[in-house]
């Protein structure tokens, strides 16, 4: 294909990316400063004053970031051995296992939320089981608590995390571990000095895929969470759907975005000493 004419191929893609992602998101900055069909007073810092005026919104935002992180972490802890195990299995076993891991993902999330709802309800299967330990009452339930939301988000994150860890682990040849072993590294050392540094980059990239949606979620907390479980996503969705205040919604969205970016950056920094490129020095 002629070099000069090849860029024509990129036009549709770049056009919709620019017009439906780049422009709208940047537009939110302007919107947050009061640009709206109904109240064209510009620039208007009312939305920002409101956000920084009380600690309420900042607290909700922080809580959402924290919730997302927790859910991601729980998912990583459960997913790691699983993803690793699948990468060591035979080709056919891998196909089946990965297929089984992906299948729940294909069912609508809302439906799964309902399934978890039924599961965690009072006198339902989960609580009855837990009641056997005599630590909790079978009639009570963790539904309508923030813990339920966290568990739900972790559950949704699980298939993706397993796939991501599988993909990262695939590259680690068994031979590398064997040579570490022959050099005297015990199980713990092998994990921390070989597996973790090599898996970490892929893991981090994949975690973002899970962390970001979790922080911005609102359906889970709406259905499963309690009065203490309001997430920033709920506030934003509310502003648009019920209250119809796109200006404040824009300000909140931008803060959410900022929060997400900063936390990703922070984690990247914290995790640096564990990365493979540092260890080799």
């Amino acid at each position: 294909m002629n070099n000069k004419r090849r860029w024509v191929l990129a036009v549709p893609g770049l056009a919709i990316l620019a017009s439906l992602v780049a422009v709208p998101v940047l537009l939110q900055v302007v919107t947050s400063m009061g640009l709206d069909e109904t109240s064209p007073r510009f620039p208007d810092w009312a939305a920002w004053n409101r956000f920084f005026g009380s600690s309420l919104y900042a607290r909700v935002l922080f809580k959402s970031l924290w919730t997302g992180a927790l859910a991601t972490l729980i998912a990583i802890v459960i997913a790691w051995p699983v993803g690793w195990a699948i990468s060591r299995a035979s080709r056919t076993a891998q196909k089946w296992l990965l297929g089984m891991v992906v299948l729940p993902y294909l069912v609508s999330t809302v439906l799964l939320i309902y399934g978890v709802f039924v599961l965690l309800a009072g006198n339902g299967p989960f609580m009855s089981l837990l009641a056997l330990t005599h630590l909790v009452n079978a009639e009570s339930s963790i539904l309508y608590t923030h813990s339920a939301t966290i568990l739900m988000l972790a559950y949704e994150a699980l298939p993706v995390m397993i796939l991501v860890i599988y993909a990262s682990s695939e590259n680690i040849d068994q031979v590398i571990l064997e040579s570490a072993r022959s050099l005297g590294a015990g199980r713990f050392k092998r994990f921390t000095k070989v597996i973790v540094p090599l898996t970490l980059p892929g893991l981090l990239a994949g975690s973002v895929l899970v962390y970001v949606p979790s922080v911005g979620s609102f359906v889970e907390s709406q259905i499963l969470g309690g009065p203490n479980g309001i997430m920033i996503g709920n506030v934003i969705a509310d502003q648009i759907k019920r209250i119809n205040d796109p200006v404040f919604a824009a300000a909140l969205s931008l803060m959410l975005l900022a929060g997400v970016l900063m936390s990703i950056f922070l984690i990247g920094m914290l995790v640096r000493p564990l990365r493979a490129s540092e260890t080799s020095r």
Binding site: R6, W7, L9, A10, P12, G13, L14, I16, L17, L20, V21, V23, P24, V25, L27, E37, I78, P81, V82, W84, A85, I86, R88, L97, G99, M100, V101, L103, P104, L106, V107, S108, T109, V110, L111, L112, Y114, G115, V118, L119, A121, N123, G124, I162, V208, V212, P213, G216, F218, V219, I223, I236, A237, I240, A249, A250, S253, L256, L257, V260
Partner: protein, 265 residues
Amino acid sequence: MTRNLRLCVFGALVILYVPLLVVILMSFNESPYGTFPFSFTLKWYDSLLGSNDLLLASWRSVWLSLVVGTLAAIIGTMLAIWRVATSSNLGVATDGLLVATVAVPWLILGIAMLQIFNLLGIGRGTVPSIAGNTVVVLPYVVFVVVARLRGLDENLVDAARSLGATPIKAFYRISLPLALPAIIGGALLAFVICFNNFTIQYFLLPLGVRTLPLEIYSQVRTGYSPAINALATVILGTTVVLAVILERLGAGSRQIRAKGNSWRS
């Protein structure tokens, strides 16, 4: 695999499938509130057939996902072809844009897109929904196709040219067929993501027009009918059957290609 690891895998699968099994179980359960005791019935499947809302919503989801999947596959593949061939700054900027699209929460993208459509006077609608869902799904298609194209042996195109193929012919006869599995995979991925994309559809679809995720959401919140469980079980069953058929087809086509196809290239 060691016993411990096997246990972990089993445990994870149990965790993954329990809510699903609850839904499937409840679709056969007499009680409409999802409580025990359990008594078998098929009445919810009957109710499903009569539930116009659910069936209509499902049909809308399938239709929307097919359109979005196809659009994303075409636009995404075109973008991928261009991206692989270029090393300009625009290419790098595009990478950033694609990553941003994946990294920004759908919530924010949804309301930002709604804002743009409102400002343009279009508001919510079918076309905005198609556009919005396509854009959100595009990066996945592009990443998958680019990865495949980059993984192709570069000598293959040179070999084709040394045998008399112009660059365009070489692309159609060699690169594209080899990239096809990835393109189809990307299209499937796009279909699935769009089918279950609650957030974008929540903000861009016209009020009252509901796709399956929205319908389920509305019913879950306002006393619903367990026909939803029946629907979920049907969807699950269909997906499994389709996957198995695709698997068999994949294995069969490889054999056919080897035997026939002698002189055609």
